[in-house]
């Protein structure tokens, strides 16, 4: 529980600093997006971006091709998976300002080495 509290405190600290300036951002996004929050926050700064926001730049089919697995494990492709096909919104597994585990890890032990929490 303690660990959870620490994580929670860190997240809250992150939220507070949002109003200031230093909000955590993925390095590769900094180069492209810079500090223009509105690029992603299409529902307003205080709301989560819409499910379409990431798709301005990313293409689901391309992502699915990049993360394709062997025939035997083909349905473990996070961008085209057994349970939700290509319809799983990005924010279920990826967070820009906080770390997230892949949704699959709720039930499965397989690993996605390139996934950044």
């Amino acid at each position: 529980m303690k660990k959870v509290n620490i994580v929670l405190a860190l997240v809250l600290a992150g939220l507070v600093s949002l109003s200031a300036q230093a909000v955590e951002q993925r390095a590769w996004h900094k180069e492209v997006i810079g500090k223009d929050c509105k690029v992603c926050h299409d529902n307003g700064i205080k709301q989560f971006p819409s499910d379409q926001a990431c798709l301005q730049c990313h293409d689901v089919d391309d992502l699915a091709a990049q993360t394709a697995r062997s025939e035997e494990d083909k349905w473990q492709n996070p961008h085209n998976n057994l349970h939700y096909g290509k319809d799983l919104p990005c924010q279920e597994c990826h967070g820009e300002h906080k770390s997230k585990k892949p949704l699959c890890s709720n039930c499965h032990t397989f690993k996605f080495d390139k996934h950044k929490e």
């Binding site: 709301q47 057994l82 349970h83 939700y84 279920e92 499965h108 397989f110």
Partner: protein, 506 residues
């Protein structure tokens, strides 16, 4: 604001018995209101809440019956609900595959099996209604593109083999085709839409709902609340509450976070409790079923569940303390789950029992490879190796295998009376595959009372609440004490279709 404890499933794996409740951002309390003078933000013809089997079947059937403007609202980011992650097992009596395999079955026989497992308190009229329309519902899934294994399975508590399973061994093999069919038919689907209460007319009839847009599960929810009028009616297909540890412990205090859960995170029960506030009759809430085929080595339903469901008929379940069998491996779910929970070490801590199968027989199931590959099951070349790995006393284990193989030969299990038909010629021999077993909360038999028209009954008048229909796991009383495996999908599908037919006649 109140806090809802949602079970952290990964925590269960890390440390069994450790407190696993994680406080999540609590949703604002859902409250129903009078619709007097309300300004509707939107009007739809048929309003469905929940996008699992029941919701999707209802949407398709409503459209086929002539509805032009059908809307499905889903709380989560993705569609399919709990239906998208279960075993994809579908029981029906009198199917083409039964005819091909020479299995004698009937609606009466399926209902009789279910009544037995329901231990006297199941709803025969509803069971009969579902069994009578199960083949029709199976056809709907096939028409939409669902594919099934070319063999039947006989699950625990069923007197004959009557269970189809999708080729992907998962409910997604049905929800994905049904969802695509919905899109094709022009059904409007809305994700991240959280039900926040009913809007009721002067006579207590349901006129519409409050629906929060842009809802992010487990987060603060800044989205706007819309008041949506449902011209023909509201179909509640919101599922069970197995993921809500507080609610399930209120009904059955033994279902602590020590017992994991197979359900999708969204199975938290608000839709059901809001119907109770409106006057719906609560039935059998304390009857919550745990799946005896689950594994403590992975979260949720995972890979092991289907592996064991397939393998139980020709496997031995062993208590690691004694090296002996402790249950009929194909008894109904409650019998087995209770027997497993009783497997503990000398200090009373959980000692998950093991399921031993001959590799030659287990490998016929597509999951076996994955179970081994992803370290949630193991393969052993000798019994000594197996016994050492799980610290099982070797001598009694060897004696038990010999004894059990005698039952395979004679066809009669003198220990637990297991039906040995499917174990014929399948001796327990090396090499072995082994998984660990521990029950996980799987299904809530309880919920709101409905009639065979899927109308929700009012607790004071005994009459249906006008404008309100419910289908699937959110309904209660149908199965009684214990639901038989593979009987939920036909129920969800048939009652979803039934609700749609009733809505279109209303």
């Amino acid at each position: 604001m109140s806090n809802v404890d949602l079970l952290g499933r990964r925590n269960f794996i890390k440390g069994m018995g450790a407190a696993a409740g994680v406080a999540m951002a609590a949703p604002a309390m859902a409250v129903s209101e009078k619709a007097d003078g309300v300004k509707w933000d939107k009007e739809v013809e048929v309003l469905i809440i929940g996008s699992g089997f029941a919701g999707l079947a209802a949407a398709i059937e409503a459209t086929r019956k002539g509805a032009k403007d059908v809307h499905i609202f889903e709380k989560m980011a993705y569609f399919g609900g709990n239906s998208a992650i279960n075993g994809g097992l579908f029981a029906a009596p009198g199917t083409p595959m039964q005819k091909k395999e020479g299995v004698e079955d009937s609606v009466d026989r399926m209902v009789a099996d279910q009544l037995k497992s329901g231990r006297g308190i199941a709803d025969e009229a509803l069971l009969r209604h579902v069994a009578s329309h199960a083949v029709e519902a199976l056809q709907m899934t096939i028409d939409a593109g669902a594919e099934f294994h070319p063999y039947l399975q006989q699950l625990g508590g069923h007197s004959v083999a009557r269970t189809y399973q999708t080729t992907v061994s998962c409910g997604a093999g049905i929800t994905q085709p049904l969802y695509k069919e919905c899109k094709k038919l022009g059904v409007h689907t809305h994700n991240r839409s959280k039900f926040e209460g009913f809007l009721v007319g002067d006579k207590g009839e349901v006129l519409g709902v409050k629906m929060r847009e842009n809802y992010h599960f487990g987060e603060d929810q800044p989205g706007k609340v819309l008041k949506i009028r449902a011209k023909r009616g509201v179909i509640m297909a919101t599922g069970g509450f197995a993921q809500n540890v507080d609610l399930r412990m209120a009904q059955d205090p033994t279902l602590t976070s020590e017992v994991g859960c197979t359900n999708a995170p969204g199975a938290t029960g608000e839709g059901m409790y809001e119907m109770f506030r409106l006057g719906a009759i609560p039935v059998h809430l304390a009857h919550i079923q745990s799946g005896p085929w689950a594994s403590p080595d992975e979260g949720g339903f995972g890979y092991v569940s289907n592996y064991s469901i397939y393998n139980f008929p020709h496997s031995m379940a062993i208590n690691r303390l004694t090296g002996k069998r402790f249950m009929n491996e194909i008894a109904d779910r409650k019998t087995r789950a209770d027997a497993e929970l009783a497997c503990r070490d000398e200090q009373g801590n959980p000692l998950p029992p093991i399921l031993i199968t001959s590799y030659k027989d287990s490998k016929k199931h597509p999951n076996t490879k994955k179970v081994i590959k992803y370290n949630v099951g193991w393969k052993f070349d000798t019994i000594e190796e197996l016994a050492k790995h799980f610290e099982v006393p070797l001598k009694p284990l060897k004696a038990q295998i010999e004894e059990y193989n005698g039952y395979v030969k004679s066809g009669e299990d003198k220990q637990f009376g297991k039906n040995m038909t499917k174990a014929k010629d399948k001796y327990i021999e090396a090499p072995f595959t082994v998984v660990r077993l521990w029950p996980k909360v799987h299904y809530c038999q309880g919920g709101v009372q409905v009639n065979t028209k899927a109308e929700v009954k009012d607790s004071f008048t005994g009459q249906p609440i006008k404008g309100l229909y419910a289908a699937g796991e959110v309904c209660g009383g149908i199965h009684g004490v214990s639901r038989l495996g593979s009987c939920s999908i036909p129920e969800c599908m048939v009652m979803g279709m039934t609700a749609a037919r009733s809505v279109m006649k209303a």
